[in-house]
Symmetry: C2
Subunit: 216 residues, 2 copies
DNA sequence: AGCAGTTTGTGAAAACATTAACGACTTCCT
DNA sequence: AGGAAGTCGTTAATGTTTTCACAAACTGCT
């Protein structure tokens, strides 16, 4: 069953949750069908790219008609495992960690932060966004079978905490610290480096001029 | 002067701030030279890619020696315009906005959030992370020549606020809302979609198995 | 029933990005 | 001084992603 899945390009895989979200929007608006052109305008992805992306999963649409919203939605729900919730742990309940706990990725989402850790006694024992904050000393004991961790500790703690998370059995880490962490080959890491995103935006702004503003 | 710059691949441009940060680290550790291999281990980018990236700017290194840290650093400082600060405005001082204001991208960075806006009277007039929070009604009046905006409002407000920002003269937006905003062609938008990042990580975890864990 | 208009799915091309491989040159050890 | 080891910059090969463009197939109207 996974044999074909492995062949989906990574770029496509990253767009799937985006498609899923907008299909949900369309569905709750009562829309019954949608064309790649319409979807393209909504998600800002070229319509040919959308058709190509969908085609990796077979022929999901109908020529001259487009895609049936309900069918597409239920297909992606299965594909994205939207029916089972993935447990997530958050380490470092500071500025960023608190924001994530309050948000908790609840809308259209199959992930849930179930437990949080911090080193600061003042935070331990409190509840943030409905999630209990535990002491980081108890990490190994309390993390159980959680597979995914969000890392929002100070960057000096990033590698030590990563090592502990890996030892405790975590297999994927979403790293928000500026540190580039080292993990064994079986652990997947995605970096979200907000400073770099901002700096890159400024760089593009200055060095990659866009179309001139049009008069009229 | 910008003629050659335009040809740098976007993928390279996105890595420049990362290189810059690690060169700074090396410099403050007192390191005088660095090879592409060493840098590769630190930033987790293939060493051939690093050499290729650097080569777009000419011959910055020396065969058999590597790169002079100080020289490279001063070169990138110029290239990334680290000497002039870009003013940034933040719209929406909620969970995420507050975290950003407290952090304010101050370390090794040429950007600074100088002004923030919110619609909530309770927040207006307060100071968060040293930045004054203004009422969003005064946006047009107070934003002046700020070129970059960070958008952290509720998603229903994303498009209306974008339209106002664009009208007020902003030319780049870093959008954290799940909405895909529409802008005129001369405005640059980068989306950072945290829900999608988390969902994509989970998808990769389940469908793109990595190397098996090794015994011993 | 027939036809004009629409939209998919995909082969082929183009664009973009990474990685391998190696000649040329430098360093530094003995 | 000579040679082994190290490292860059680049050419070529490879891999990935996007985009074009169109036949085939469907819709919906008359
Ligand atoms: N806040 C932002 O906007 C922002 C932007 C970009 C990057 N970051 C990065 O995200 C990370 C977190 O940023 P922040 O602003 O939330 O920092 P913060 O200082 O507000 O929060 C860090 C939290 O981690 C806790 N902590 C420290 N050591 C720990 C440990 N060993 N185990 C568990 N918890 C520990 C601290 O008690 C604190 O609550 C930092 O690495 C920062 O560089 C933050
Ligand atoms: N917090 C997270 O972890 C997180 C994660 C992913 C995405 N997001 C997205 O980021 C955005 C902000 O999230 P949040 O958790 O900070 O929400 P929030 O509700 O805490 O903050 C939104 C802030 O915007 C202000 N606001 C509302 N309308 C406004 C307007 N017209 N002009 C100016 N300010 C206005 C509100 O007063 C509030 O302070 C949302 O779109 C959310 O979907 C947040």
């Amino acid at each position: 069953m996974d044999i074909e899945q492995t062949k989906i390009p990574q770029a496509t895989a990253k767009r799937l949750p985006l498609y899923y979200r907008f299909l949900n929007n369309l569905h709750s608006q009562g829309k019954l069908r949608v064309s790649s052109k319409e979807l393209s305008e909504a998600v800002k992805v070229d319509s040919a790219t959308i058709r190509r992306d969908f085609s990796y999963f077979g022929a999901l649409g109908k020529k001259g008609y487009g895609y049936n919203v309900e069918y597409l939605l239920s297909f992606f729900r299965k594909t994205l495992d939207q029916d089972e919730t993935t447990k997530v742990a958050l380490v470092g309940v500071g500025n960023l960690g608190t924001a994530f706990l309050n948000y908790n990725f609840t809308k259209n989402n199959n992930t849930r932060i179930e437990i949080a850790f911090d080193a600061d006694q003042k935070r331990v024992g409190t509840e943030v966004g409905g999630v209990q904050v535990e002491h980081v000393d108890d990490l190994e004991e309390k993390i159980n079978d959680t597979a995914v961790a969000i890392l929002t500790v100070p960057s000096s703690e990033a590698q030590p905490m990563t090592d502990r998370l890996v030892k405790a059995g975590v297999s994927a880490i979403l790293n928000f610290t500026p540190a580039r962490i080292t993990v064994p080959p079986h652990v997947r890491v995605h970096h979200i480096d907000l400073s770099i995103e901002l700096q890159a935006l400024v760089y593009f702004l200055k060095h990659y001029p866009l179309e001139e503003e049009q008069e009229g």
